[in-house]
């Protein structure tokens, strides 16, 4: 024996079993295992996994017509899968190279319009056929066995010994006796826990500074603009029509709470118009302006049915009557749409007389207090 081999760690340790070694390797020597056939080894291993193979239906006889047919089926399925996959690949790679361009254009109804469907159809077909082939193979060509595996409840031995280890370790730590450590641990845990959660405070912001929910960009003298930025004069609209207007501020037409509906009432609507108390002067002539943001869930109420004077919100079907101060008459909304007080400025364009006098949009906890 050379010095190198006698040095610690140089001989390898795995081949000499430790004193606690055990298990199936003790039950079966390599010589015994060598005498067993492959099937016997399979079943022996299964026995060690609590599995017993009760019955094996060996599948179709080799060379039989049933087998030949199944083999043909499986091979055909896999073959078609390969074909579809290659075709999908060729279409994907070849489009715009030796095939027409794949990129969709609005005027084209040809290749580019069927590029995605073709990839999906061929790719999907290929994958489905792979799956079908595997299932057919398993069902028609593999032996069918019926196996039983035992199911064990928890072992009492494991519970008792694990419990002993756990409780023993805890007992040895002496935490139950050393009250000072326990208390300091609780104190420390609370502090460190709070400290680790502390950064989440960065998410918290005060929603009540400056009443952001109760105000919009509307204000005295702010013009009513169409989406394209043009101002509106009385007489631009037909009676019975509705136009969505925005405040004349930068980005006003993208603000989430400023969108307003300018409605010109028909003469018969003017007859029956009953604005909310204190808001009789908010309209201008036969024009009224209501917030477009639904008081239920904040969707833009968009569908105006002028015959019934109703505005319908397409999200949850709240309905508001424009001749009754946009009072909700059906559906889940509880509050009328806020009315924007409007007038006409020196140049004859519509302007707001002030901001909305109440918060627009959905209800919230302290809405009435602001």
């Amino acid at each position: 024996m050379s010095t190198r081999e006698s040095a610690p760690g140089s001989t390898g340790g795995a081949d000499v079993p430790g004193p606690l070694h055990g298990g199936p390797d003790d039950d079966y020597t390599p010589e015994q295992l060598a005498t067993l056939s492959r099937e016997e080894l399979d079943l022996l291993g299964a026995r060690y996994d609590d599995v017993q193979v009760l019955h094996v239906d060996p599948g179709p006889e080799p060379g039989s017509s049933v087998e030949r047919q199944a083999v043909r089926q499986v091979a055909l399925t896999f073959g078609l899968a390969g074909l579809a996959a290659f075709a999908a690949f060729v279409i994907y790679v070849g489009s715009g190279w030796f095939l027409p361009d794949w990129q969709w254009t609005i005027t084209e109804g040809g290749w580019s319009a069927i590029f995605t469907p073709m990839i999906g159809a061929l790719g999907g077909l290929a994958l489905i056929l792979v799956g079908v082939g595997m299932v057919v193979y398993t069902k028609k060509l593999l032996p069918h066995e019926t196996a039983v595996q035992d199911k064990h409840d928890g072992s009492h031995f494991d519970r008792v010994t694990t419990g002993a280890t756990l409780v023993g370790g805890l007992h040895n730590s002496g935490l139950a006796r050393r009250k000072l450590i326990t208390r300091s641990l609780v104190f420390m845990g609370g502090g460190v826990g709070l400290m680790l959660l502390m950064p989440l405070g960065g998410l918290i912001r005060n929603p009540n500074t400056g009443n952001p929910l109760g105000t919009t960009s509307w204000g005295e003298g702010v013009r009513l603009l169409r989406d394209d930025g043009s101002p509106i004069r009385p007489g631009d609209q037909q009676p019975g029509s509705l136009e969505t207007v925005f405040p004349e501020v930068p980005g006003g037409n993208r603000e989430s709470d400023a969108a307003t509906m300018l409605i010109r009432l028909r003469p018969e609507q003017v007859q029956v118009d009953r604005p909310r108390t204190g808001q009789e002067e908010f309209g201008y002539g036969d024009y009224v302006a209501y917030s477009k943001i639904c008081t239920h869930a904040g969707c833009p109420v968009s569908l105006y049915e002028q015959e019934t004077s109703r505005i319908l919100c397409p999200c949850h079907q709240s309905q508001f009557d424009v001749t009754q101060g946009a009072k909700p008459v059906f559906g889940p909304a509880t509050r009328p749409l806020p009315q924007l007080p409007i007038t006409v400025d020196d140049e004859g364009f519509f302007v707001a007389r002030s901001d909305y006098i109440e918060a627009v949009g959905p209800t919230y906890w302290n809405r009435e207090r602001i």
């Binding site: 995605t116 066995e145 595996q149 929910l213």
Partner: protein, 553 residues
């Protein structure tokens, strides 16, 4: 110690040698053999959970691809891309990159649609899997933990779905986000504070898409992955449930070993799920965001529905009456709070706690590994059907504007149909289901007692006609069957007990000899010809339900 080539059991093939090298280092032979030998029960309904798992894999693959191109930013840009109708429109970078994926990435549209379809399938398969677990009682002790994990996965899949379809920032998803903003504001006391924390201020701000993105691609998928791993670990540890049948007890699992039979079928199913998602992704258009246009708070499209799994909440929101609660001090609990937060809160809590509730009410605290047929537990089945009815009414109400338009029904009438239906339909369905369960039970008992109807009419010597019944087992002196009902399907037709031989195989022409089949059937004791020499009791095949057994436990 040197090994010699002659030592027994030492591999000689290259593959065997390589395997030995691997096992010498990793010691995997034992665990691998245990895995390969694991027995899986064979029933189609056990594949529903697998469909969910596989569609999640598809989601991970396609979703990762989409992240290469998606820009989760609300920065305002002007569109200059391929899609001509929107050129020059102002939009967010998120929407622009979604258009980029759809029109300028080769196969990008396919990938987007594949992802969306897989998401719908993911939630759908979870829901169907859940109903299977519920109606067969698979949630009973010891599987309450896995039930809870499953419910958590369902809720998380909702979160994934919502953040997923909200991120493109198109008109439809923006409308959905606006409603969620209103829902958050509707929380009593802290609503505005929560809204400011989630949106970093007033709606809509510039943060929400970026935040939803990280929730959608990292936080929730990580939790879902961990929970799926836990779900499967517990499943493997507790082993599968199985339907009662021949040789099946509370202490075993009867079926196929993982390798190769189960692996073949499961692998096949994975490819089929993947393929169906891919075919749908290519062939069936979904969420064409370029048609909706960029989000604009002043615009909305009619018939705007969320994805199907959120539709029941949309429905509850439409049906709930306009009941704000005004509290002293001018505080308000908005009506929106009840149908969107309280209702799903109650529904999911009841769902999660159902195993514990049932355990408490039935005082059944035993471990169960054999499944129940829905008819044998009429109260649970009826409760489940009641819940399903409640859900379906809400879901239909979520699309009541489409129904009223297509069928020319008044929208307000549809709302009232939903409101009234929600209250009266579930109890009606409860009673109906209960009666159907009892009827099915009774018929099972009847067949066990009197035997199968054979269709053979016999004339007795005194002129009376009777139908001959085939008993399923031994009979007592009155001719009544002595078999007890064991929770397994009872055969109801002669063919199910081998009354006819099987069909000759072959599609265009027979590929086997009819005489051979007849002989084989006789040998296996199938068919009426074979029945002459034996009692028609059971075919011995589990797929027939086999001979009903005494319950073992």
């Amino acid at each position: 110690m040197a090994r010699t080539a002659t030592a027994p059991g030492v591999p000689t093939t290259p593959l065997g040698k390589a395997a030995l090298e691997v096992d010498d280092r990793l010691i995997v032979a034992g665990p691998l053999r245990r895995t390969l030998n694991k027995v899986f029960p064979d029933h189609w309904s056990f594949l529903l959970g697998e469909i969910a798992l596989y569609s999640f894999v598809v989601l991970l693959l396609s979703g990762t691809y989409l992240t290469f191109f998606f820009d989760a930013s609300m920065r305002e840009v002007v569109y200059e891309g391929t899609y001509a109708p929107l050129r020059g429109a102002e939009m967010s970078a998120a929407y622009e990159s979604t258009l980029y994926i759809s029109f300028d990435v080769r196969g990008g549209l396919f990938m987007r649609q594949l992802h969306h379809w897989a998401a719908l399938l993911f939630v759908a398969s979870i829901v169907v899997h859940l109903t299977r677990i519920f109606f067969t009682g698979a949630f009973r002790r010891p599987r309450e933990t896995n039930w809870l994990i499953g419910v958590a996965l369902l809720v998380l899949s909702f979160a994934m779905g919502f953040t997923g379809y909200s991120m493109p920032d198109d008109l439809l998803s923006g409308t959905g986000l606006r409603i969620v903003s209103a829902i958050i504001l509707a929380i009593p006391v802290v609503g505005t504070w929560v809204h400011w924390a989630v949106f970093n201020g007033d709606y809509v701000g510039e943060f929400i898409v970026g935040r939803m993105y990280i929730v959608h691609v990292l936080i929730v998928p990580a939790i879902i992955l961990a929970l799926i791993a836990l779900h499967l670990l517990i499943l493997v540890k507790q082993k599968h449930t199985q339907f009662p049948g021949p040789g099946r007890t509370e202490h075993n699992v009867v079926g196929n070993r993982l390798f190769p039979a189960f692996a073949g079928k499961a692998g096949g199913l994975f490819f089929i799920v993947f393929g169906v998602c891919a075919a749908l992704g290519g062939l069936v258009q979904i969420n064409p965001v370029w048609l909706w246009g960029p989000y604009n708070p002043a615009q909305v499209s009619a018939a705007s529905q969320p994805d199907w799994y959120v539709m029941f909440l949309d429905g509850s929101t439409r049906l709930f009456p306009a009941w704000d609660i005004n509290l002293p001090g001018n505080y308000t609990i908005p009506a929106l709070f009840w149908p969107t937060l309280v209702l799903p809160g109650i529904l999911f809590t009841l769902l999660a706690l159902y195993p514990m509730i049932e355990r408490k009410l039935t005082r059944d605290t035993a471990s169960h590994h054999l499944l129940q047929r829905p008819r044998d537990v009429p109260v649970r089945t009826s409760l489940g059907m009641m819940a399903v009815t409640f859900y379906v009414v809400l879901m239909i109400s979520g699309g009541n504007d489409v129904i009223s338009e297509k069928f020319d029904i008044s929208l307000n009438a549809m709302t009232w149909v939903g409101r009234i239906g929600l209250v009266i339909l579930p109890p009606i369905v409860y009673v109906l289901t209960y009666r159907i369960c009892l009827g099915l039970q009774k018929h099972d008992r009847e067949v066990l007692e009197h035997g199968l109807e054979t269709g053979v009419i016999r004339r007795l010597p005194h002129g009376e006609f009777i139908e001959v019944h085939q008993p399923l087992g031994p009979v007592d002196e009155h001719g009544h069957g002595e078999l007890a009902y064991g929770g397994a399907p009872v055969p109801k037709r002669m063919n199910q007990v081998g009354g006819a031989r099987r069909a000759i195989r072959g599609f265009f022409k027979p590929i086997e000899e009819p005489a051979q089949v007849e002989l084989e059937q006789r040998r296996d004791e199938h068919g009426l010809a074979a029945a002459e020499s034996r009692e028609l009791t059971t075919s011995g095949r589990p797929s027939d339900g086999g001979r009903p057994q005494e319950p073992r436990d």
